[in-house]
Amino acid sequence: MRIVVIGHGMVGSRFAADLAREDPSAEITVLGHEDHDPYNRVQLSSVVAGKADATSLALEQADSPQVRVLRGVRAVAIDRERREVVDARGDRHPYDRLVLATGSAARIPDIPGVRIDPDPAHDGLISGVSPLKDLDDARRIIDAAGPGRRAVVLGAGVLGLEVATGLAARGMRVTLVHHRERLMERQLDPDASDITRGALERLGIVVATGVDATGITARDSRLTGVRLSDGSMHPAELMVLCTGTVPAVALAAAAGLDCEHGIVVGEDQATPKDPAIFAIGDCAQPPEGASGLVAQGWDQARRLVQAWSPALATGAAPVPAGPRGGDLVRVKAVGLALVTMGRIDRAGPSGHAPRSVRLSDPAGGRFTEVVVQDGRLVAATVIGDDEAAASLSAAFTRATPVPRDPVHLLARPLAVQGAAGTARPVTEMDDEEIVCQCNGVSKGAICQAVHAGSTNAGAVSKATRAGTGCGTCRLQIEELCTATKAAAAAGAAPDGPSREAAPVQPPPAMAAARAATAPEPADAPEPADAPSTRGGGGSSVPVSTSSATAVPEPELV
């Protein structure tokens, strides 16, 4: 079977490589407009931020004689009658199936003076102005960047935030300009937007909202400043256009295929008009809508390979979408953790109303909102808490059950808390509490050994075996020796706090569990009526429901 793929970007390259692996009989031709080997476009903003090296972007590509990749070759027409693709050199490429993976292009706003010639290719932009869509753009931006220089970033969507923080991390003076009042308005509500704005300002970024760029100034065909719709003038050597992308549909549209926002495809990724033509990645518009994120494109590629592969074919039915997470948006910004996922209006099928709780902490630069339905996380926004962002993302994509009360999700309880506190001083422990976990030796037994004449840690170890395993309790044994001897000298009760002064004593198992350095809490079964240890983590976090306004200055946990 002859398969032609147009576009050798993130999705097209993976599709070709995976198909070659699964179907040895496929003869694959890939036409790629870019001169480079396929690379990780997602990491371009990290390259701009100086976090990733441009040489580390190369992506896996097909390594098989079945696959012929034509680099730097643009497809200019699809001849559906003859089932051939025509390239810019006039060569024709016959296909049995055609896969469009043409991605998307940066949207270039109409700002007078920005285009030096009316050709829509961004090469026609005045020097100092660039979108961030490919490697050449990234190189151009890095060349213009430098400590102390000034930059305007136009558009405060995900990419705008990444570029603004990245340039700030390079020491530039950055103004982030957004035409709406709300930053990332597709994902953030006003509270979350305000907190994000605060975080950006703390990084030294000037945020101008509700304004647009209306013009530029230039000298010697180089950008020198940007004029905004409020009349203000912003000197700048660099302007990065982060004003959205447009799916690359021209080829498909010219071939008479249905295109709306993107190339319209069904659940099977095929175009309704021509079952031999498919679209995947940023250029496609599937029934559930396009996210513009690579996870969705890669999942589409995987499903298409699976549906075509003789070995994996599951019949005629389209392969179902992979794990959730296609709409998880993670801002890769230096110094700002921000992730949003899911949509409330797409919550599960049951009649149960979604529950939503949020923590809003403007002063602390933190915001977390979670939406839970039928025991699963269906949407969330997290700002300023890297670990909570990570654990909620995992819970969302894996659809693992969440705590009964969603409030617990606000305080990062889905990963274990990490080794938090220090153990109580050994002198305050109860006699029954285990000091040496490796050998199960209690504080009482150690004190007894000291009384019986073992006056240093070595002697105590010899007498009780305490400290002869991992050895981490040796300091505590030493302390007990000193304290017990001192107490004996003073004639006071040597072992443990006096009963009168002691607060209510927890049962031994719980107490042992509290000793943070204690390996493996002793496992004495708790009496059935012992106070439950459940409910830990997060219950003291101030929260408000989504309808209420944010709590202004919550206490941090």
């Binding site: 580390s56 693992t400 050998n439 395993g469 050895g471």
Partner: protein, 727 residues
């Protein structure tokens, strides 16, 4: 440190019977031990030997609770003292050795006459001495002529072994002395809970903890993870089954941020471009949504490792893997990624840095080197390699063509038992598979379908109780031999007391069976002589022991292999001068993440992970017979987070039902904040109700045969609610 090691007693210096740390101990008969009441020895529950820790490079005099109490198993009330034969009513009766051995030999002959050599299979254990492992492998290949032998070490080290051999050309466990860890600036422990499983190990982490460089990857806030508290390091808690993603992201960061040791990579490795492209797609923000560990934490981990690496002027860094990351259907890939990371940072084959797997069983290392593995001959040779066959056959005095080819890995072997075309007779030595194998319920059915099951054990283990013939064998304090510890160090095990009753060494049993099956001379019973033969068989192999002997070990204490000649001092650190690969370079190998075989789903939304407890060892056959250990850990349980318990409506101690695709069982809940709320943990030491391996997945890693013990999708239900609702 306080050292209970300096013993004034005329004791026997030996090593602990249990784990691969092989802590040095001294055994003294109770009646000669100072202050001991000799009249009570061995009678009133007092063990017959007094155990003391002994100073040694690994344990520095320390022992854990299991080691201290090890002598109690010697006089376990149900210790097997006579051969036992199954009676028609399903019970057992005692028998003399001749009767029992004749019966076994006859059974073997009948089966093989009917169905050929492979009608008889052998299943060994990673607790057997080198001598016994060697003899068992030889017996299978020479006397039985069967290709079907494997061992429980398959459940332990196979993924790490496969990956090490593939990437580095050699698997010696730790390629450096354990004590080297003490000088490092960073240690990354992946899926290993040494603080609970081998506590004296932790002494070697003191230095790195004081420098804030201990990093532990574990879904639980385990005893080892807690060692990172208070500035001693970092704890990374991944979603179970996603360890490989964490490693791919760490590699991604090292490459993206240019943290690699470029000179080392250029001189000593191949494969960088392929590794680069394979990890380009795992940027930390993408990995984060899969593994649940924050992108910044991933970067921080990579940077700390890099700062500690020699090329950046650090004191050194180590990456160590344990069963937590290895017992997976992508176990080999995961270890490969760990090795890739270590290679990129220039850690392997450099003094003060390195990669190593932490072996679990006492002689898991030696067992796989000397013949218990399906595809191997002594000296870590491949049974499919004609030169290896010729060499070993010449030592054994047989025709190379008479040796069988490679067998099949453990899980597959167990699944073949009693099936058409599969073996109808099985010999088990040193393994308790009905507790320790994955999907243990199915294993029990397979054993029941055999014509003849022979189990060699010291106590009536759960597997022994399934047998037709149980043969009583000696314990560690009743025999001479050698073990190879987690750092490839060959050490001496010594006899401190006579064998009780009619218990015999496996070496004697194999000789007797061999004689009955027509091989009268090939099986010496003197362990020193067996070792000498082993040494010759290993000569020129990857694990070359040819310069080692019992006498030399007695004189020098211990020797790390390879040791190719009597004058050779042994090899504390491997790879210093290159890698034993055709081009002398290590291979950077790209790997891909697939999901676990049985990933969470609507009907089984939680992750089940399993592991060991401080107070128990393996299937518990030994440690459950020590009263103080049993009292500390009387039975199975399910550890769960308070938030999960709350969602399920389960109280602490309440019995819950666990259900997976393999089976179901019940166990009491133990509520603890030390575990992720999307995950439950069970210890695997217990048999019967609450036995974790009734639930685990027997899907295996295609490269190593390692089963997926560490991640099974599970449904957990309170039993109370089931009883309330009508069926």
């Amino acid at each position: 440190m306080p050292s209970p090691s300096t013993s004034s007693l005329p004791g026997t210096p030996t090593h602990c019977p249990y784990c691969a740390l092989q802590c040095a101990q001294t055994l003294t008969p109770r009646d000669t031990a100072a202050g001991a009441d000799s009249a009570r020895a061995g009678q009133d529950g007092q063990p017959p030997l007094v155990v003391e820790g002994r100073d040694f490079p690994t344990n520095r005099g320390g022992l854990c609770r299991k080691g201290w109490t090890s002598a109690e198993v010697l006089t376990a009330p149900d210790r097997l003292l006579m051969p036992q034969l199954r009676t028609p009513d399903g019970g057992f009766r005692e028998a003399g050795w001749d009767e029992a051995l004749d019966l076994v030999a006859a059974g073997i002959r009948t089966a093989q006459q009917r169905d050929g050599a492979d009608a008889v299979a052998v299943f060994g254990g990673g607790g057997l001495t080198n001598e016994k492992a060697y003899a068992l492998g030889k017996f299978t290949r020479v006397v039985l002529g069967s290709r079907l032998i494997d061992y429980n070490g398959r459940f332990c080290m196979s993924a790490a072994a496969t990956a090490s051999n593939r990437s580095l050309g050699l698997d010696r466990g730790l390629g450096f002395p354990l004590a080297d860890l003490g000088g490092a600036d960073a240690v990354l422990l992946l899926g290993s809970n040494v603080a609970a499983t081998m506590p004296p190990f932790v002494q070697h982490l003191e230095g790195v903890r004081s420098r804030g460089g201990l990093m532990v990857l574990d879904p639980r806030d385990s005893a080892t993870a807690k060692l990172t508290a208070d500035g001693a390091g970092l704890h990374l808690s991944p979603v179970p089954g996603t360890d490989l993603v964490v490693l791919l992201a760490l590699i991604h960061v090292v490459l993206a941020e240019g943290l690699l040791d470029a000179d080392y990579v250029a001189e000593r490795t191949t494969g960088l471009p392929e590794l680069r492209t394979a990890t380009a797609a795992w940027w930390p923000e993408r990995a984060e949504a899969v593994c649940g560990i924050g992108a910044e934490r991933i970067r921080e981990t990579a940077r700390r490792l890099a700062q500690a690496s020699p090329s950046r002027g650090g004191r050194g860094a180590y990456i160590l893997t344990g069963r937590g990351v290895e017992q997976s259907t992508q176990g080999t890939a995961t270890v490969t990624a760990a090795i890739d990371l270590a290679l990129l940072l220039g850690l392997i084959g450099r003094e003060g840095s390195g990669y190593g797997p932490i072996t679990g069983q006492g002689n898991g290392q030696g067992g796989r080197e000397h013949g218990l593995k399906a595809d191997q001959l002594p000296g870590y040779r491949l049974i499919s390699d004609p030169a290896a066959r010729a060499h070993v056959a010449s030592v054994w005095g047989v025709d190379p063509d008479s040796l069988p080819g490679p067998g099949v890995p453990a899980v597959q072997l167990l699944d073949m038992l009693g099936r058409p075309g599969g073996p109808s007779t099985l010999l088990v030595a040193g393994a308790n598979v009905v507790v320790s194998a994955p999907n243990a319920g199915a294993v029990r059915e397979r054993l029941a379908s055999l014509d003849l099951l022979v189990v060699l054990d010291t106590v009536p283990s759960e597997t022994a109780l399934c047998a037709d013939v149980i043969l009583p064998v000696v314990q560690w304090a009743e025999e001479e031999g050698t073990m190879t510890n987690l750092e490839g160090r060959v050490i001496r095990r010594r006899q401190a007391r006579p064998a009780p009753g009619q218990a015999r060494s496996e070496l004697w049993i194999l000789r007797e069976l061999a004689a009955r099956l027509g091989d009268a001379s090939g099986f010496p019973t003197d362990p020193a002589a067996v070792f000498d033969e082993l040494a010759r068989a290993s000569a020129g192999g990857r694990a070359d022991y040819s310069g080692i002997s019992h006498a030399r070990l007695d004189a020098e204490g211990s020797i790390q292999w390879p040791c190719p000649g009597p004058e050779h001092p042994g090899t504390p650190r491997v790879f210093l001068d290159g890698f034993p690969t055709p081009d002398g370079r290590a291979r950077l190998i790209p790997v891909e993440h697939r999901a676990p075989d049985d990933d969470v789903r609507e009907q089984a939304p939680l992750h089940l992970i399993t592991g060991r407890l401080l107070e128990q060892y393996q299937s518990g056959a030994q440690t459950r017979r020590v009263p103080s250990l049993l009292a500390a850990r009387p039975g199975s349980f399910v550890e769960m987070h308070p938030l999960l318990a709350d969602r399920l409506g389960v109280e602490d101690g309440e019995v819950v039902l666990l259900r997976t695709r393999r089976g179901e069982t019940r166990a009491p809940a133990r509520i603890s904040e030390d575990i992720r709320p999307d995950t439950v943990f069970m210890p695997f030491h217990y048999a019967g109700e609450g036995s974790a391996n009734l639930l685990t997945n027997d899907a295996t890693d295609p490269l190593s045969g390692m089963p997926e013990f560490k991640m099974t999708a599970v449904e957990v239900l309170p039993v109370r609610s089931l009883e309330r609702s009508p069926a």
